[in-house]
């Protein structure tokens, strides 16, 4: 039995501590936003999870290419880990966004580019897992998974730009013109601290979960290997 690396255990602890601090910064330290009030505080975690989820999806597309070139199942396990963590993070992003949207836009959901793209992206990666479930041979599963993650990873950004052809009401917080009318706001210095700290925190949490998930995949493979040895 391969024991858990010390660095990973440390990272687990650091992640929890960072999450605690980040929660404090978002809920207590950062000043209340003048127009929207306390509900604006979900924004810190909303962006934090969104950024890491996108990072994971981009990584997954990169792993697709590497796997298709090298055909080493290691990259397949990395891809599954990245997509699984990102799928959950993105779901959290959507839920937090809805909580904010209810008072800000007076609706839980609108079909704006970002929201629609988010929904479509979630569906793409759910389909990814359904595809994998229907295949028994691990090599074929990895090949098909890599092809689909590549097609999906290319399609999602195009979807985003396609919907942008329609009007958007989603605020562009950084560098957006006329943002305030749609619920955008400018950040004070303390807000910025909470914001960047949240980004940092979720990046660390992502790395931690990603690592743990890869380790789980490796262990799963080892179990399969041992099972085969017993039945042989």
């Amino acid at each position: 039995m391969q024991s858990k690396p010390v660095t990973l255990t440390i990272l687990d602890v650091v992640s929890i501590i960072l999450l605690g601090i980040s929660t404090y910064l978002a809920l207590v330290f950062a000043p209340t936003e003048l127009v929207m009030g306390d509900v604006q505080r979900v924004f810190y975690f909303h962006i934090g999870t969104a950024w890491t989820a996108l990072l994971g999806f981009i990584l997954a597309a990169v792993f697709s290419v590497i796997y298709l070139v090298k055909k080493d199942l290691k990259w397949d396990r990395y891809q599954v880990a990245a997509i699984e963590v990102s799928l959950i993070f993105f779901f959290i992003t959507i839920v937090l966004g809805s909580i904010w949207a209810r008072p800000a836009w007076n609706t839980w959901w609108t079909w704006d580019p970002r929201l629609t793209t988010a929904a479509v992206t979630e569906l793409i990666y759910i389909a990814y897992f359904m595809l994998r479930q229907g295949i028994d041979d691990p090599d074929r599963r990895a090949r098909f998974g890599a092809v689909y993650a590549l097609v999906g990873g290319l399609s999602a950004p195009i979807t985003f730009f396609a919907i942008r052809l329609f009007r958007t009401i989603h605020p562009v917080v950084i560098g957006g013109a006329n943002a305030e009318a749609e619920g955008g706001f400018s950040m004070t210095a303390d807000m910025r601290v909470a914001f960047f700290f949240a980004l940092f925190t979720f990046t660390i949490i992502f790395i931690d979960l990603f690592w743990n998930r890869i380790r789980l995949g490796d262990l799963q493979e080892k179990v399969e290997q041992l099972k085969l040895k017993v039945t042989m």
């Binding site: 199942l73 691990p138 090599d139 493979e221 399969e224 290997q225 085969l228």
Partner: protein
């Protein structure tokens, strides 16, 4: 004609072929025998360039697999337990299609020749889905010899055939083999194999467990040889 050295094939963690060595001289008719799940079909699919070897060297008709697969395919005829024919096309349309895929000259003359050889000349304009199983299998052999291959692979060609159809298939197979072609056939029907092959190889646990030519077998019989090989 066929040289295989230390061939290993893995499906994920499962190793089906474990360092298999195999050699066939031009003009030999080798029957590959073995219990279900021994890896006969997997091995034949690798020889047919349909599946990539995990490790080891595979040479067919003077070309290396998988790198020179296209050259191998041009010299290879395959008959499997599925007919590889289109039900909604007639016999001649099926053969015409495959002639185009193999880029054959004098297509029509060759098609007539092949149809006569497999005894389907008078049914050439009938849809393949109206054919009996035995007729489909004979046409499948016609399809496989269309481009006059040097090497032929038969994967359980007798599956699902009744007595009469089997004897007719015997005749066609003998005609095919009589032209000096190299043939490898998998089968679990020892009697059929005994009539046709010049050499008998037993595949067991991912390697060739035993091999004997027809001459060597003259004193004992195939069944006892087969049982002996599996018992070792």
């Amino acid at each position: 004609m066929i040289t295989v050295k230390k061939l290993v094939k893995r499906f994920g963690l499962k190793t089906v072929l474990r360092g298999l060595d195999f050699e066939v001289q031009p003009g030999e008719f080798v029957a590959l025998l073995g219990p279900n799940g021994a890896g006969k079909t997997t091995f034949l699919r690798i020889l047919a360039s349909l599946s990539r070897p995990s490790l080891g060297e595979v040479n067919v008709a003077g070309y290396r697999l998988p790198h020179e697969a296209a050259a191998v395919r041009a010299r290879l005829g395959v008959v499997s337990h599925l007919p590889l024919l289109y039900g909604d096309l007639t016999a001649e349309e099926n053969l015409r299609f495959y002639s185009r895929m193999y880029n054959l000259p004098n297509m029509e003359a060759r098609i007539t020749e092949v149809l006569e050889m497999v005894g389907l000349e008078n049914r050439r304009r009938d849809l393949v889905r109206t054919y009996s199983r035995g007729m489909q299998q004979r046409l499948a052999i016609g399809r496989a010899v269309l481009h006059d291959p040097d090497v032929m692979l038969f994967d359980e060609p007798y599956t699902g055939l009744d007595q009469d159809a089997s004897s007719m298939l015997d005749e066609v197979l003998q005609t095919v083999a009589a032209k000096g072609r190299t043939v490898v056939m998998t089968s679990h029907d020892l009697a059929r194999a005994e009539d046709l092959a010049t050499r008998f190889d037993i595949l067991s646990r991912g390697v060739i467990a035993a091999s004997a030519t027809r001459r060597q077998l003259r004193r004992s019989n195939l069944l006892s040889f087969y049982k002996q090989a599996l018992a070792d």
